[in-house]
């Protein structure tokens, strides 16, 4: 049972089927003049329209990229380099994905100033903090929509409103929310929005960025002038086709998927908190993605827990996929103000629309037994 859909998802069968002809039949370069390029071009534009429709944008406001990370880098560096003469101050939150955070660290090395808004115990920024952080030098606010580790949602509509009241560009990383929570770039005052295909049962290596008409930025990848000069490189046609289809499937069934998943989510939360002593939910109980849960268990370490769960057939995660390489404590959990020891005992469970019906009781039972077992081994438990 795969329960790590925040890390990546399985490509939907319908999506794969729609992609296939573009590998070896309609394989033309969409920029070419003759007949074989025309089909690719059409397919590209259909995908663009589908992404646009799903966030209430126009199709010429959508630029395809290689994924969420590239979209984040393009948005942030693109605006920073474009507007650096206007100001060099950027506002973000303490719990951004590394694709945003590391990009901001890079800009700091170039003498940009960055304010990291705190998120408090519930994992959500305070609007007053944002208002106070704004200076005449502020050119960009980049605050994510839904967090990839704990699943909390930020009040982006209000953030966007404040940005616009102050003439500041607003970017949001919607990689985790796209296709799961409704997004309306008009209503939510969004100027730039990053999305990624592989989080919504589309293929890996494809993403997009919404760029509101009128917003200009410096390209990240210069070259042949594809994607209206904003993102050069021969277009990944099959990938883009798959992303378009995945977006259509996710967004046209959004309500239904969200309801189904949040029902399982709530059942797991209730039963785990009920059955396991010293178990806690990380992040706000209500302001969260329908498909993400993040627990912490006292006195045990997360990696050993997910290995035990894996051995029992449940694939989960400690949090972000990347952190398994650095062995560092999760900066997101740390930002919640938790005791440093407790930060290591996290478990993220993330669902997807293709998560079949499963036996929540068995799953919770396996978690409970595994936690108990690791606590018996732990010198921190009952010591």
């Amino acid at each position: 049972m795969y329960l790590d859909n925040s890390a990546t998802t399985r490509v939907n069968d319908e999506v794969l089927e729609e992609m296939l002809p573009y590998f070896n039949e309609e394989f033309g370069n969409p920029s070419t003049l003759y007949s074989i390029g025309r089909e690719s071009k059409k397919a590209l534009e259909l995908a663009r329209q589908r992404i646009a429709d799903s966030i209430n944008a126009k199709s010429d406001e959508i630029i395809f990229t290689s994924g969420g990370s590239e979209s984040d880098n393009l948005a942030i560096k693109g605006i920073a380099f474009k507007l650096q003469k206007k100001g060099r101050h950027i506002i973000t939150s303490e719990i951004e994905h590394p694709a945003v955070k590391e990009t901001l660290y890079f800009l700091e090395s170039l003498d940009f100033k960055v304010t990291y808004l705190p998120v408090y115990e519930n994992g959500i920024i305070k609007i007053e903090d944002l208002k106070e952080a704004i200076t005449p030098e502020t050119i960009l606010i980049t605050i994510m929509h839904g967090n990839n580790e704990i699943g909390t949602l930020q009040p982006i509509e209000e953030i966007g409103q404040i940005a616009h009241d102050n003439g500041i560009v607003f970017h949001t990383d919607a990689v985790q929310t796209f296709g799961k929570v409704e997004i309306d770039v008009e209503k939510q005052n969004i100027d730039l929005l990053s999305v990624s295909s592989h989080k919504i049962n589309g293929p890996k290596g494809v993403g997009a960025i919404y760029i509101k008409k009128g917003i200009r930025l410096v390209p990240l990848i210069h070259g042949g002038g594809q994607e209206r000069g904003i993102r050069s490189g021969t277009e990944n046609v099959p990938g883009i086709v798959g992303f378009g289809k995945a977006a259509e499937l996710a967004c046209s069934n959004l309500e239904e998927h969200a309801q189904k998943q949040s029902k399982i989510r709530d059942e797991i939360i209730e039963k785990v908190l009920d059955k396991i002593p010293e178990a806690y939910l990380n992040g706000d109980r209500n302001q969260r993605l329908p498909n993400v849960i993040n627990f912490r268990f006292k006195a045990i370490e997360g990696e050993s827990l997910i290995l035990l769960l894996d051995a029992n057939g449940y694939q989960t995660s400690t949090g972000s996929a990347c952190s398994s390489k650095t062995l560092e404590a999760s900066p997101v959990l740390t930002a919640l103000g938790l005791d440093p020891v407790d930060v290591h005992g996290s478990l993220r469970i993330s669902l997807s629309p293709d998560t079949g019906d499963f036996d929540v009781d068995d799953f919770v039972d396996v978690i409970a037994k595994s936690v108990e077992r690791l606590r018996q081994m732990s010198p921190l438990w009952n010591n």
Binding site: A299, E303, L307, S324, A329, S378, P379
Partner: protein, 124 residues
Amino acid sequence: MDYSDKVMDHFANPRNCRPMEDADGVGQVGNPTCGDLMTIYIKVEDDKIADISFQTFGCGAAIATSSMITEIAVGKTLDEALAISRNDVAEELDGLPPIKMHCSNLAADGLQAAIENYYETHQS
């Protein structure tokens, strides 16, 4: 993360994982703030490790290396036990991912600390 079958076996079925009330030496290394804490208990007879056990808060490799070092050390003289290196532990486990080598360090350090604690409490 690529754990060998042996690591997974020692992780899933750890040997000698229990507190030891009447230990002759106890060593504790690691730092829970960093995600690992290991306690090694030894019982010494005739300058040899007669019994050994551990408790570990940490990753899969930390648990497996703890378990493995108890198997390696049991029956050895204290001098022999002191000479066990992190590489010995990793080798016995058919290797560890590079990023996890420090976990076997922890196990070797823990054993060393337990032996030192035994010397301090028994031979002075």
